[in-house]
């Protein structure tokens, strides 16, 4: 029986497969990504700062981060309920519902974008009643608490305004929390709940003090994944967003706008900011996953 140390010499194809992997990875992924950083390195620091911190760019960061955060938070809340229901309860059609959770991964973003717009526009299935409701609710909020620019923050309609962006980002981030939590809930040991019950905890105490802390690392991982995905999303948002500069223009759209104006440096500088953010999030998610795994081994 060969040991794992000598495996290198026993199975063939190491050089070929690793060589091909590295070459393909380098040509398709690493070299083009490096192009973005090298292009920006040619800019002076002040040009870079000017390109990445102009009022229009800052407004797009605020919107992209804010809407992604709100969407990821809603997904964390409802995703927890969905994952719990799908693992712990049974009801007719559960398998179909479970499969449907992956729809945002499978449905092209442009299709999702026009479908959501059709539903939430003011003549759509939901928009026809939600639109007037939202306008009057925000109007009342504005009258009751005049200190904050509520109409600017929350928008005055659903589609073609900020709420539309939030809805599209919620759609595309939906599977992450559910799919991260499901295996963890499945592996929760019944002894945990039984022990809590034996020690006199009621159901509410068991859930809030035993189960939720146990699920927290996975919940945070799913939240971070949904947030990261929402931050870069473009296809589903552009149709429903309204795309007004300084108000409903997300950062990925601003990159495209700059490209269409042949402002390659401006577009690349913003892209580098987004890339660095994404890489930091990726690192964070990897660390969270490690934490989650260690948490569950103990």
């Amino acid at each position: 029986m060969p040991s794992s140390r000598s495996s290198r010499s026993v199975l063939p194809g190491f050089g070929l497969s690793l060589g091909f992997t590295l070459a393909y990875l380098g040509l398709i992924v690493l070299l083009p990504l490096a192009a973005a950083f090298i292009k920006t390195a040619g800019m002076s620091w002040s040009d870079f700062v000017a390109a990445t911190t102009s009022p229009r760019v800052l407004a797009s960061y605020r919107l992209s981060f804010g809407a992604s955060f709100a969407a990821a938070a809603v997904n964390a809340t409802f995703g927890l309920v969905v994952a719990w229901v799908l693992v712990r309860y049974s009801f007719p059609g559960k398998k179909i519902v479970d499969a449907l959770v992956d729809l945002p991964f499978a449905l092209p973003t442009a299709v999702a974008g026009i479908a959501l717009t059709a539903i939430y526009a003011k003549n759509g299935w939901v928009g026809s009643w939600l639109d007037p409701f939202w306008a009057s609710a925000v109007g009342r909020l504005d009258a009751a608490l005049p200190g904050v620019a509520w109409k600017e923050w929350l928008g005055v309609k659903i589609a073609f305004d900020r709420p539309g962006i939030f809805i599209a980002l919620t759609f595309i981030g939906l599977p992450f929390v559910v799919r991260t939590l499901q295996p963890v809930i499945e592996e929760l040991e019944p002894e945990l709940e039984e022990a809590a019950a034996t020690l006199g905890a009621n159901r509410w105490q068991t859930v809030t003090r035993v189960l939720l802390p146990e699920l927290f690392p996975a919940l945070l991982t799913g939240f971070a994944m949904a947030f990261a995905r929402a931050l870069g999303e473009y296809g589903s948002v552009v149709f429903i967003a309204g795309n007004q500069p300084l108000h409903s223009e997300i950062t990925p759209l601003l990159i495209i706008t700059k490209l269409e104006q042949y402002d390659y440096r401006g577009a690349t500088a913003i892209a580098v900011v987004m890339l660095v953010t994404s890489f930091v999030l990726l690192l964070l998610i990897n660390l969270l996953q490690k934490w989650s795994r260690r948490y569950h081994r103990v």
């Binding site: 959501l116 039984e194 159901r203 149709f239």
Partner: protein, 294 residues
């Protein structure tokens, strides 16, 4: 009716223990209603809307949308793009999984992280980086122009951008699968005198075929549906560099909603087929290995 919502941990202990380890009936009903309501609003409704809008003006208009030569060209280009990008990433995925799962070498975990990178990159930026490489002002732009080769605003750019965004799908499916399976069967084949290719085709491939298929259908769904990255490099030339998602955008912006949703309904069907196949593979895997996803 309470039989509809049952608990997994049936048959445990006394009355008190059951009350403390199970959710009360009203909680089960409430949570199930919230979960299903949320999924209906965000998943079922958009899916239904695609088909409702596509058939709003009748079946005749729906089918007429596919006689438009530009729509047919978009369908052909989408199929062609997937036909190049998916096999390329399959070959890569198998090679990457082979060297990562079968051998030990320094920097392995870094390599696994790097393979996942394209998932972390915004689709728009995935397109932009190829413009920086091959665009008129890019690194290879002047050279390409001299030799009259078009990559950006042409089909090669679309294929490259699609390959980038679908890059990790097959590899990230196969790596954990092959790592879990170990090398014992391959070692046995070596002992019996099999060559490298014989080991791969007769031993490894039959073991990973479902995982490979799983990766391929996900990779294909994304390849055919990619919008942001392709949008940046395509140039939107009707009948030439428009894929199906881009064609949907053009029709939609021209207020030709029926035709836009008709093309969209094809992609929605593709998504549904993908979900069905995916569930079948997961179900087969659960049958074979007890539980869990491949």
């Amino acid at each position: 009716m309470s039989a509809v919502v049952t608990s997994l941990s049936a048959g445990s202990g006394g009355h008190v223990a059951r009350r403390a380890t199970q959710d009360p009936v009203w909680v089960r009903w409430l949570l199930t209603a919230i979960a299903l309501g949320f999924l209906a609003c965000f998943l079922l409704l958009p899916l239904a809307a695609v088909f409702a809008e596509a058939f709003r003006k009748g079946a005749a208009t729906y089918f007429a949308s596919f006689r438009d030569p530009d729509a047919l060209a978009a369908i052909r280009l989408t199929l062609f793009t997937a036909a190049v990008a998916v096999p390329a990433n399959v070959v890569f995925g198998v090679a990457a999984a082979w060297c990562i799962a079968k051998f030990n070498f320094p920097g392995k975990s870094v390599l696994i992280t790097l393979i996942d990178l394209p998932f972390a990159v915004s689709p728009v930026i995935s397109g932009l980086i190829y413009v920086l490489m091959f665009g008129a002002q890019g690194w290879f732009g002047p050279w390409l122009m001299e030799h009259d080769i078009k990559i950006i605003f042409a089909v090669p750019g679309i294929v490259l951008a699609t390959t980038f965004v679908t890059f990790p799908f097959v590899a990230r499916e196969l790596i954990p699968l092959m790592q879990a399976q170990g090398n014992d069967e391959e070692y046995a084949a070596v002992t019996l005198g099999a060559s490298g290719w014989q080991i791969f085709w007769r031993v490894t491939l039959p073991n990973i075929k479902w995982g490979l298929f799983y990766g391929i259908i996900l990779c294909n769904a994304r390849a055919m549906g990619e919008f942001g990255a392709v949008s940046v490099v395509s140039g939107h030339i009707r009948g030439e560099t428009n894929t199906m998602p881009l064609h949907i955008e053009i029709l939609y912006n021209e207020y030709n909603f029926a035709a836009a949703f008709a093309v969209a309904s094809l992609l929605a069907l593709l998504a549904l087929v993908t979900l069905v196949l995916k569930s079948v593979v997961e179900w087969r895997h659960a049958q074979a290995h007890g539980s869990g996803t491949p």
